[in-house]
Symmetry: C2
Subunit: 338 residues, 2 copies
């Protein structure tokens, strides 16, 4: 049996070899933003498919018995084809706020748990949603452009914006994020109502089962839901018409929840008043028509990212993976409700 | 005594001749923004010095006995020289949020009351203050520029902003506006403290008698006070140093409360992190150095103006003038505290 190798005699690399593996299909944005070391643990080791020369299926087959978990971020699908190559996987932990890259029914079928990013991003996303709403109504970015171009001194006062206090705000998707948006807007004297798959039992805001009816009864529609087959292009021509020419829309969900072409048309023809958008259908490509519009605010999908939140995220990701690997309850298990 | 002329026989012009006169030295911005007719009343008549060819002193002397009130807006001083020509004036009603154009001690000496704009602007100003703060921290306007220039697709992700929730917000001047700002920021999970001439008895936020000490103990300094001899350049080099290189400043008060040259220097040298400014020392002229900075948001003094608030303002102005002329208490009498 040769020399009895104790843990302390092993090299760091050998130790890592023994650890359970967590597979990554692409580097999560947070790795480059705050450093991969924030996500390190002595309870697991990351396997990166993108560091290997092997074709994906061959790489996964080679390691299939040591891969216990997936660390998923936006863009790289976690679908049935992938999952069937990884029979030992018991959890998908995601660094993204949305879960639309994950085949949730397939995970359910295989008994694979999902841990989402919980409340980590909610405050940041809600802050930006409110910032975009104030910006669209009060013309902050447009006013900034006006001043920077020297037009204030040259051409006089900039046109008035419109008041936030007293506006009727319709939240589409009253999850963690939607709720944080609502809480903030109440402090501004807005009247909040919402649409969701189901009426929330403990919420006193008026509920609209039909998003079109919500749009007809609010001045600002704020999209806070996730992207799914049901929500794709949910904000269509009919909803935008119901919102009307005084209405504005804010989207911090996913671009494809809105029929973007239709929204561009509505904005160009004055059928809605304005839009504050952190997300787009085909990022980082943004419809060129927006670039000349003063009634839209364009944000490069930064709602979820601040260094402070990414630090919280890293702790949550490590905590979820370590909990799973030691058979403890996940910190933020995703259960199938909005 | 000849024909007995009844009210109904008089022409409109004759009737106006009989009405008490309210003098204006320049058109308030609200006249052009929502229309002068919103400020009309059958209890008084406006006399506009700017419609007359006469020199100001001659014009005022001519009408001195019929002028009972002054409608004042920013820019046109109401000083001792003016007031001594108008012995019948008993009230100055202002359309501006600030009172810095009015010689308040001289009014006091002459027993002239002052009616300010009360709470009319507070919500709008507070909304914009929060909007500017979110914008500076989360780089909203700068991100919008980045997207509009096509740089998102060409150069990749935009740098991270910084989190609002959990920040320590220092309010300078906890009047109506400052209080509305504080209320909103609490909903974002900020920790509010304040500086004011005196500690407010019914407020639980930590109070700093010294603005420098407040700056040293907050991440964001929000200037909500009025401009006076005491507050001019109150935010000087020392206060900006105390705020420090992670700190940001928002000014929705008056430009001259900050030593603007010093702030420009601090921003250029990274001694403070950013600024959101609705007001400037020499409006509409803005220091050119700002135009190239991505860590400042420049707003063309629009904090107080939305059509909704201007409508409220017109009712308040008319209400104050009518109250004074019928010996009733003013709706929003200015009493000398912040």
């Amino acid at each position: 049996m040769g020399v009895n190798v104790t843990d302390s005699d092993k090299t760091q690399e050998e130790e890592q070899q023994d650890l359970p593996k967590v597979v990554l299909f692409r580097p999560p944005p947070a790795f480059s933003l705050i450093g991969e070391e924030s996500f390190a643990s002595n309870k697991f080791h990351f396997l990166k498919t993108y560091d290997s020369q092997l074709p994906l299926d061959q790489f996964l087959s080679t390691h299939s018995h040591s891969i216990k978990a997936i660390l998923s971020s936006g863009g790289a699908p976690v679908n049935a084809d992938i999952l069937q190559l990884l029979p030992e996987v018991g959890v998908v932990v995601t660094t993204s706020a949305g879960l639309n890259q994950i085949d949730i029914p397939e995970c359910r079928r295989r008994g694979i748990k999902i841990a989402n990013s919980g409340n980590v991003y909610s405050a940041d996303v809600a802050d930006l949603a409110v910032g975009l709403l104030i910006d669209v109504l009060r013309k902050v970015s447009a006013g900034d452009r006006y001043v920077r171009q020297g037009l204030w001194a040259a051409k006089g006062n900039y046109p008035l914006g419109s008041k936030l206090s007293g506006k009727r705000a319709g939240i589409v998707g009253l999850g963690n994020i939607g709720y944080e948006v609502a809480k903030r807007l109440e402090a501004f004297g807005c009247f909040v109502s919402y649409n969701s798959r189901k009426k929330k039992p403990y919420v006193s805001y008026p509920f609209y089962h039909d998003v079109c009816e919500l749009a007809a009864n609010c001045d600002a529609l704020i999209i806070c839901c996730g992207l799914s087959d049901e929500t794709r292009h949910m904000i269509n021509k009919q909803v935008l018409s119901a919102l009307g020419k005084e209405g504005v829309i804010v989207n911090i969900g996913r671009g494809a929840i809105i029929d973007e072409k239709e929204m561009v048309r509505c904005l160009m023809q004055g059928e809605i008043a304005g839009a504050g958008l952190d997300v787009f259908e085909n990022e980082p490509n943004v419809p060129q028509e927006f670039f000349a519009m003063d009634n839209v605010v364009l944000s490069p999908h930064r709602a979820v990212f601040t260094p402070e939140s990414l630090k919280d995220l890293s702790q949550l990701v490590v905590g979820n993976l370590e909990a799973f690997l030691s058979n403890k309850p996940l910190l933020t298990e995703y259960v199938d409700s909005e």
